[in-house]
Amino acid sequence: MDLSQLRQLQPYLWTLPRQPDEKRAEVLLYGSAPLLGSMDDKVLEQISNVAALPGLVGAAMTMPDAHWGYGFPIGGVAAFDAQKGGIISAGGVGFDISCGIRCLRSNLNVAEALPEFGRLAETLFRDIPAGVGEEGHIKLNPAQIDQVLQEGAHWAVKEGYGNATDLEYIEERGRVNGAVPAYVSDLAKKRQRGEMGTLGSGNHYLEIQAIERIYDNEAASAFGLREGQIVISIHCGSRGLGHQIGTDYLVMLAKAAARLGIHLPNRELACAPIQSAEGQQYIGAMNAGINCALANRQILTHLARTAFTKVYPKADLETLFDVSHNTCKVETHEIEGKPRLLHVHRKGATRAFGPGHPTLPERYRAAGQPVVIGGSMGTGSYILAGNRANPAFSSASHGAGRAMSRHQSLARWHGRQLVDELALQGILIRTRSMRGVAEEAPGAYKDVDLVAEATEQAGLARRVAFLRPKVCVKG
């Protein structure tokens, strides 16, 4: 991205000045000069287009890990007011509805766990269905699918996957309201029959990590984290059901926008007014997709626990937090001193509620919401805490963010070679797709340290802990 077209407002905040004839809201880009400089110009084009959508409140924003997406840029945040003609966009949520990270803290230290990492890797690889074409062990009939879509993680706990305490530490307590299974197509439901409790492929993973550094002792204490502790991160989403909802509604919303006379700078922004019939249908289906993702990560949590106790009989894995980064949520935010109900799109961005937020579990209320920035399998990840004065509708970065296309990665790296190199660094990779490993090469991502630092410096969230990968099951 050419920074000369931007104006720097603060050390980690930039804007794109409007041309006199340009009818759009403000664009704000969070990040450092090196991070923004490495972004594709398409990020700027996409977020500028978002800023021209009806009913936008405040600015259209990108997080420090932003990159070129479809519809919205990945790392894009935009809030809309339904009462002001605000829209809902499938491209502002993504195909993998409610893709997110479940983070578990263990009672294990890296030193005691290290000798069995090899056996742990094999056990997880065998027990966690991962990769393209893999089905799960759970087969659901149509009535059960509808229950999942209504009840989310509560359905999974009711079926014996995990416990009630897990639910306390999931966004929305494990279930969003407003899910309408009738708005989810039969094909979407059929696709999900064998996909509950599966990880998927691409950038999805289950990773065993060791806490290498604590930045914020007070928040770490609230989160139950300490140096040397083993933590587990599960990154996945709503699987085939969510993908099908995304594809079903992308075309439907594109047609709705044309029929309703919404001017779209680019068709990829397919959207409809929140209060339109199409908008309400998408929201009902999307919420069903969110519940599907929450149930899926709950089942995977159970599978991970079972695998752990086979290797470490005294292992205890507690849910630290479960946070989604592909959603549109209805939230109250203070705008010019007044509370307003907004539909906040976060496409590849994490919600980051600050201390005192009433929806946070009591245990975290003083520290703020746990936020996870998932890095690549060769570098590391961060746990952060939300800030009270977050200027981006309580949003923060969600990952390292790609710096290189998948084809560039394939041309540069070979999966087998990467697996061997990482093993020499003490990082065990288990995968069914060497192509997938090459595409997800650590070098294909931005420097996660810079992203986490920029997230903190921009006031979006503050660093609590750095996690070093030890075992990674890739799809």
Binding site: W68, G69, G71, V132, G133, G246, T247, R406, R435
Partner: protein, 138 residues
């Protein structure tokens, strides 16, 4: 259809696919091959079972997205991988089929394709060649 070279274009997070042919239908078939080759090398997939695909759409660009997403959806629903595609268009009526086999351990696993998007979407004719392209989410 004749086997066409698999064509892609760059996208940061996902993959751009390109299909070309002397007819719009051939371009769509070629685009489908590019999509499914992301999931597994198609040379190893046996066309044991054929599945019918039919839809109505008068917007050519949206038809490409619908075609690719129907293929992906049906493949996942049936636990299959497709390698051969045929498509005919009569006005707004598109009738096609896809052939392939059930997933099995002999197939090399690539990357799952979640769906075709409206990003960089275009279907156009240049001279005698039709070209269809869009970004697919992986």
């Amino acid at each position: 259809m004749e086997t066409q070279p698999l064509l892609y274009f760059e996208h940061d997070a996902d993959i751009g696919v390109i299909g070309r042919g002397t007819t719009v239908e051939q371009a769509f078939e070629s685009a489908a091959q590019a999509v499914f080759a992301i999931i597994t090398p198609l040379g190893a997939v046996q066309p044991k079972t054929t599945v019918a695909i039919e839809f109505e759409e008068d917007d050519r660009e949206l038809a490409l997205v619908i075609w690719l997403n129907l293929l992906l959806g049906r493949a996942r629903e049936l636990g299959m991988i497709f390698s051969r595609f045929r498509l005919q268009c009569n006005g707004s009526n598109w009738i096609g089929e896809a052939s392939g086999e059930k997933w099995n351990d002999s197939l090399e696993r690539g990357v799952e394709v979640k769906g075709a998007t409206l990003t960089m979407l275009s279907v156009k004719q240049t001279g005698m060649v039709w070209e269809a392209r869009c970004v697919v989410d992986v």
